[in-house]
């Protein structure tokens, strides 16, 4: 089931008499339990799109549906949305984690007792129980971010919008937040995630949408996109020395000897030929040289495809 359906939303602004197209006919869907990485360079229109989805910016054209309800016309759709919009700046710093969760729970439509029960569960799950009575401003950056995410899901939303959730976190905190995002998606929530850390996007996302100058330039399942951009390039790592004859024969089938122990070759047929030539040298690894999401992203935003 599609939790989020965005159809052809557009937004333009006027600046000094010039019309600036911030977002042009963007369409997206996110299913329950799916993580969509929404990527793009600075100023590409990511945040404007997210804010249009959250009902904070009204699109000039197009529709947003959260579980079939338009948040711009029916505020009750917002009961189904949680958002961490700008890093950890989504909390009252003078309040404790417990107090923040209880307050935001009520703000999102829960009763106080529901909010308190849910707060206790989330504090436990996010390993914040010990810090439940510490003012947010005295928590570490990682804890603040965990709390911001817990606050965003206090009302058990179907859709979670995460704008740069790992920005400024250290390695350990990043790992924790990544694990939490994975867990939250596994509960069946749809997650729309923006990040400039493309390795994280690659690791967490089921699908990727790349926006450039307000337009979606690619939208596909993450692994499919990687396959699509990966050639049939193989890297063979061997143990031992290549003989002169082996080098000559490998060169004849257009294999490249990158170092004494690494041979790269294009095409599956050539791969098997190379393996025959290398026999009986022990193999350390044979790997298909895949494009990373970072390479794909750069190709797309630089219009190299």
């Amino acid at each position: 089931m599609n939790v989020l359906e965005v159809e052809n939303i557009s937004k333009h602004y006027r600046q000094g008499g010039t019309r600036i197209e911030a977002v042009r006919s963007v369409s997206l869907t996110v299913r329950e339990g799916e993580v969509l990485a929404f990527l793009g360079p600075n100023g590409a229109g990511k945040t404007t799109t997210i804010k249009m989805i959250a009902g904070l910016i009204e699109p000039h054209t197009g529709q947003v549906g959260i579980a079939g309800i338009n948040p711009h016309r029916h505020p009750q759709a917002l009961r189904k949305v949680g958002a961490v919009l700008e890093g950890n700046r989504n909390l009252y710093w003078r309040l404790t984690p417990e107090e923040n969760l209880a307050y935001f729970g009520v703000l999102k439509g829960l009763t106080r007792s529901q909010a308190k029960r849910r707060a206790a569960t989330l504090l436990e799950r996010f390993e914040l129980t010990e810090k439940r009575k510490t003012a947010v401003q005295n928590l570490s950056r990682g804890m603040q971010q965990k709390l911001a995410i817990a606050t965003a899901i206090i009302h058990d939303p179907l859709l979670l919008l995460l704008d740069e959730p790992t920005l400024g976190l250290d390695v350990e905190a990043t790992q924790t937040v990544k694990a939490l995002i994975r867990e939250i998606a596994q509960e069946g929530r749809a997650i729309l995630l923006t990040t400039h850390q493309l390795d994280i996007a690659e690791e967490l996302s089921d699908r990727v949408a790349i926006i450039q100058k307000g337009e979606i330039v690619a939208q596909a399942p993450t692994q499919e996109l990687i396959r699509q951009f990966s050639g049939t390039h193989y890297v063979i790592e061997i143990e031992g020395e290549l003989t002169f004859e082996q080098r000559e024969t490998l060169a004849a089938i257009e294999a490249t000897i990158e170092s004494d122990r690494v041979v790269s070759i294009r095409g599956t047929e050539a791969l098997y030929q190379a393996l025959g030539i290398l026999k009986p040298l022990p193999l350390v690894r044979v790997k298909r040289d895949q494009s990373s999401l970072t390479e794909i992203f750069l190709k797309l935003v630089r219009n190299e495809v």
């Binding site: 910016i57 009204e58 711009h72 309040l95 009520v106 703000l107 106080r112 003012a135």
Partner: protein, 257 residues
């Protein structure tokens, strides 16, 4: 609505008392200012204020003055502060809608402020040995003043939504307030009377003076006009806020403060 009010009150109160030294310091400073003013009460009330020289009237006058100043700046400054701390967008993501949240929040802040003022007055009474007495009927014109004040506060909040920074306007408004509250508009005649019931709070402030300083009874017809004045300003303030919220969403201004 009640659960939202209680949540807002708890949030507001907890934030105030989180650092007790700061809270006590704030109360101490305000009490000192109040006490200083009371000691020179005759001097202060001699010219501009027409509340009379009774201690009770002076107290009510100052409480009203500080309350209205607090209310007028509450919505706009609160909005700007929340924008800076990054919680503003979360309020706009509430299914209650921003207008209701800000309205309930304003009432919660007022309740907190009244409690603080109550503490300050208790301290002052303890220090001066005076006892504060005022006719309960005073509450009625007071409510109409607060309604108009909130109307203006939401108008300022509306400006803050679109213009983002409104400190200068708030500063100018405080001078306007002095005129509105201190001018004895009840002595105006002809079109002056129309102005009295059209300008926010002027008529209500006159009724307060009647009850507190002149010990006159409450003119119920005038109270009706004051209620109308307060209701109109409050409704216009809330509607304008709603309108500006939509404009801010259309113009993409609900961020980047």
């Amino acid at each position: 609505m009640l659960k939202l009010f209680l949540a807002e009150f708890r949030r507001s109160w907890t934030q105030f008392i989180r650092y007790p030294f700061e809270a006590i310091g704030g109360i101490f400073i305000t009490t000192s200012i109040f006490y200083g003013l009371f000691l020179s009460a005759k001097y202060v009330t001699g010219t501009a204020f027409q509340l009379g020289d009774r201690f009770d009237a002076i107290v009510i006058g100052y409480v009203l003055w500080t309350l209205i100043l607090f209310i007028m700046t509450e919505v706009a400054t609160g909005l700007q502060y929340e924008a800076q701390t990054g919680t503003l967008e979360q309020i706009f993501l509430s299914p209650y809608g921003a207008v209701l949240v800000f309205f309930v929040r304003a009432i919660a802040s007022l309740t907190r402020q009244l409690l603080i003022i109550g503490v300050i007055l208790a301290i002052i009474m303890g220090l001066t040995g005076s006892r504060l007495t005022f006719p309960p009927i005073l509450i009625l014109p007071l409510i109409t003043v607060l309604m108009s004040a909130y109307g203006l506060a939401f108008m300022m909040g509306s400006l803050a939504l679109l213009l983002k920074r409104v400190q200068q306007v708030l500063g100018i408004l405080q001078f306007g307030l002095l005129f509105i509250l201190a001018t004895p508009a009840e002595s105006w005649t002809g079109w002056g009377q129309v102005a009295r019931w059209t300008i926010p709070m002027t008529g209500s402030a006159g009724l307060l003076r009647d009850v507190m300083a002149r010990e006159a009874g409450l003119n119920w017809l005038e109270l009706g006009l004051a209620v109308l004045n307060g209701a109109v300003y409050l409704a216009v303030g809330l509607l304008l806020f709603r309108f500006c919220e939509r404009q801010a969403k259309k113009q993409g201004k609900l961020s980047g403060y």
